[in-house]
Structures are given as structure tokens and as C-alpha cells.
């Protein structure tokens, strides 16, 4: 049986939630209109900027962010830390990529900066969780390894 400290698990899920929240705050202000990351993705699509299969895949995967975050939450509640590690890393990477990509081409609002920070935190907490799991596993195997000598 593998044990996992609760802290990194909870932090990873919280960071995934923070990433989702960062996608919902304004990413771009045009006139008096503020667009979230999802509204911006729709606008980019409508304006014809999504003109290659790669860009299409990126936009489609971006719409998966709420589902992936909810999946991370559910996995944590079901005590599946490996899944949480994977989802945390994916959600964090998506957020960092989207935020930094947008910041490189336009004058960003609060959203992209928050997305990069939250995404980085999600990746780091996923790494922390993975490391904690590995440590816990190693800790339980110390005597077993000793037996083999």
C-alpha cells in the first residue's frame, strides 16, 4: 500500500483550481469589453487565427481545462494521486503555455499573468506530489530492500 502526504495532493488540486480561475479573469480588454481566456479563444477562432490543425488542437484542448480540473478534483477525492500528478502537470503546462503565448503577442490583462503563475504552481505542486509519493514508497521499501541483502 502506498501512502501519500495529503498536503501536496491538496495543493495540486488547489493550484489546478487557481489555473481555472485565472482562465476566467480578463485576458484582454478591448474598449470596455473584457474577454476571458475562453472568450478570447472563441474570438481568435472567429477571426480566422486558428488556421492550422496544431492551433485547432490547442484551442480544443484549452476548452478541456474545466473538465481536466474537475477530473483532478475527483481523482484527489477518490485518492488517486498518480492521476492528480498527471492532470496537475497537464493543466499547469497548458496554462503556462497559453499565458506566455498570449503575453508574447498582445498587451495582456490580469489573466495571462495569473495563468502563468498558477500554471507554474500547479506543475511544481504536481512535482512535489510525485516526489512525496516516491519518497513514501521508498520509505516503505527500506526494510524490504534490507531483507534482500
Amino acid at each position: 500500500m502506498r501512502s501519500v502526504p495529503a498536503k501536496p495532493l491538496v495543493v495540486t488540486v488547489v493550484m489546478c483550481l487557481a489555473t481555472l480561475v485565472s482562465a476566467m479573469v480578463p485576458w484582454l480588454k478591448t474598449g470596455e469589453t473584457r474577454r476571458s481566456a475562453f472568450a478570447l479563444a472563441r474570438s481568435a477562432d472567429a477571426l480566422g487565427f486558428i488556421d492550422s490543425p496544431l492551433r485547432r488542437a490547442l484551442v480544443v484542448s484549452w476548452y478541456l481545462l474545466p473538465l481536466l480540473t474537475a477530473a483532478a478534483w475527483t481523482a484527489a477525492a477518490l485518492r488517486k494521486p498518480v492521476v492528480v500528478v498527471g492532470l496537475g502537470a497537464v493543466v499547469g503546462s497548458m496554462s503556462v503555455a497559453a499565458g506566455s503565448m498570449f503575453m508574447s503577442v498582445a498587451r495582456p490583462g490580469v489573466g495571462p499573468v495569473a495563468a502563468v503563475i498558477a500554471g507554474t504552481a500547479a506543475i511544481l505542486s504536481a512535482v512535489w506530489l510525485a516526489w512525496s509519493m516516491a519518497s513514501a514508497r521508498a520509505g516503505t521499501r527500506v526494510p524490504a530492500e534490507g531483507r534482500g541483502e
Binding site: P5, T30, L78, R79, V142
Partner: protein, 454 residues
Amino acid sequence: MSDEQRSGPEGEPTDPAGYAPPPPVPPDTTIFAGGPPATSVTRRPLAYVAVVIGLIAMVGGAIFFARSVGQASGAKTPEAAVQRMFDALSSEDFLGVIESLTPAERTLLSGRIQTITSELGRLGILRKDLDLGSVDGIDLAFTGLKYKSETLAEGFTAVEVTAGTSTYRIDPASSPIGDFVRGLLPRGSSKTISGTDDLSNEHAIFMAVQQDGSWFVSIGYSIAEQARRDVGAPLPTFGAGVPARGAATPEAAVEAFLRGAALLDVRRLIELMPPGEMAALHDYAPLFLTELLKESAAARKHYSLNVPTLTLKGRVTGDEAVVMIDRIAFRLTVPDAGISVDYDGKCATIKGAEGFFGLGGGPICGDELSKQAIPGLDVNPDIGITAVREGGLWYVSPSRTVLDSIIGILKSLQPRTLDELKQFFQSFAFGGFGGFGGGNFELPAGFPTAAPHA
């Protein structure tokens, strides 16, 4: 192996197989995962609640994903499409205005307007740091809008603004006008302009077009429909206008277009225009084509154009291509005016136009030609004819060509060039006018400040 090694943590004995039992862990800091359900920790009701919340959120996330991927970008009704455009205008939301247009018109405008704005900023015509997402100094508001819709055909609705007011306020001091233009403005032009207009008297028509189940405003159809109403022409049959006939390559499309233009073959020119972007022209063309064909046939009698050499070179990027004339030779004669132009690919010989800009003094070759094109300006813009691919065939896009040419010209200009142009206009002013409307032009040193006496 010693006994000490066989012992578990804190001296606990190992099981008969030699494995240590799991270390005791506080339940509030450690959870268990993997393998069969944990037996050492009892799941609390809170955990079940968390699972249920998570599952509900996952369902929500899946619905959000499905709706977002399949979401149409247009409005649900023609009136909503027009209202959406006015809302975006009122919010000074440039992106929103573009989004309310048909997909073909959006693609045409979106990137190009940004590029033009950026180039105008570089030249000082607009402010350098101008952000189209936040244009200061211009406030617009449309309120109380009411519409009257008329379905012209399935998927085509004319929406007339029957009531409403527009309020505007322009503050030149904080407007996006750049330093160069500010220098040309007359003194006192920094006064704020504001006002209110009653839109019920304007009879403004906006055509809403349905595509993939959603409604969009079409600039092209709106212009065409307004023009049709102005001249009182009958309604065209939508979708049964001049059919589009593209070419297999961008070069072939442009060559056909140039030959069509040389022969004033209006029908062929329309056929070669993109059916999506220029849909309105294709649909409304039958209203004026017969008359235009007659006039072009009459005009053809007054000139002759022979193009023995025409080589084109295209640069394709995605579904767009810029086609440049690599080599051309032609002979144009206008017998009625006694003018002829011979161009052999290097030099142009113009006869019968001696009175115009010093032309007709012999062959004009190479760089001299570009200098003659824009007097006083030595610019060589990288411009061509823009072709676009729709439905696998290539068409010539006049609107993209015009916008791309503007971009090409702007990119070739330097702020210094504009100063030269300014001085060129000053040469007509002789210092007495002080520029347009009494501005603050500075004349070059040694420039005469009074008209010479006869």
C-alpha cells in the same frame, strides 16, 4: 541478515515473509491510494461529497467542452446580429465589431487593420502606442435602437434602424492622432467635438446573412442593398447571380484577371472574384451587368491594348497568395487622344502626352519609372495582386489587394519620406497659407516665402 535488519521501524518485528508492515501514519496528514480500497482509513462522508461534487463538475466540464467546440460565433437572429455590432461599437470593442461580421469579411479585415494601424503609428500618422483594444479620445454610444426586419430571401434579412440615438465625443487632445498629423492640424483644432444624432431619420440598412445557422452582419451585402434601394432596382435572386469561376493556380487567376481587365470583360472579372468574400457582388451583379457590358463594349472601341509578354510569380501563404508581375510588355494606344504607351519590360515610351508631367521626352527606364509614378518620392513598395483560395480554386481578391497594397506602401515609407511629402505640399503654399487651415508648416531654408513677380 541480522535480527536488527529483520526488524521493522522502531524495532517492530517483521512478518514471516520478511516484509515490514506499513509505518503508522497520522490519518490527518496521509491518505492512501492505489490497489484495493484502504482498510486502515475509513472514508468520511466529506470524501463522498467531494467525489460527488467532482463528478458533477466533470459533467459540467464535459458540457462546456462540447458547447465550446461546437459553438457558432454568430447571433441567433438578424436583429441580434446588428445589435451585437452596435453593442461592440458602443463599447469601442474593435474585436467585437469584427466578430459580428461574416467569417469571410472577418478574415479579410482582422489582421490587416492591425497591421495598417501599426504602420500608421510607426509613421506618426497615428499614435505610436495605439492599441485598437483601447482607443482613447473617441467615445461612441448607441442607445434605444429599434429595428424593422425584412426577409429578402432565406438566410438574407435587411435590418433597418428605425429608432435610436447615437452619441459621440471626440477629444483630439487624447485621440489616436499621431504627431505628424497633429503638426498639420490648424490651431484650435484641439477642441472637443460632441453631439447626438437621431438615427430614425437615417434609414440605415444592415444586411444580416445566415451562415451555419448563425446570423452575421455583412458589409458587402449592406452596401449592395443600400445601393439597390437608392436606385430602386429590383431584388436580385440570391445565390443565382454571376457564378464564380476560379483558376487552378494563383498565377492563372491573376493572369485571367489582368487579361479580363485589359479587355474590360466585366463578367469575367466578377467570375474571378472570390465567391465567399465577394458574395454580394456575385449576387447583385445581374442588376447592373447588362448595362455595364454595353458600356464596356463601347469603351473598347476607343483603345487597344496588346500584351505580348506577361510572366507572373506567386508567393503562397496558406490560402492566400501575392502574385507579382515578373515581366510584362505591352502596347496601349488611345487613338482619340493620340496617346500611345509602349513598354518593353524595361523602358516605357510615351507618345502624345508631352504636356503631362514632362512625359514623352523619350524612353523612361528602370528606376526612373518608379520615380515618375510618385513624383518627388523615391519609394518602391513591395506590392502585388492578392489571390485567395476558396473551395480549392484561386480567385483574385480586390479588397485584399487594396488593403495589402496600402500595407505595402506604408511599409515602404519612412517618417523622413512623409517630411519630404510635407515639403512637397509646402512648395504650393509659398508660406502664405501656413499649411492646411493655417497650421504650422515650416518651409525649407532658402525657400521663397512670397510668390515670384512676373
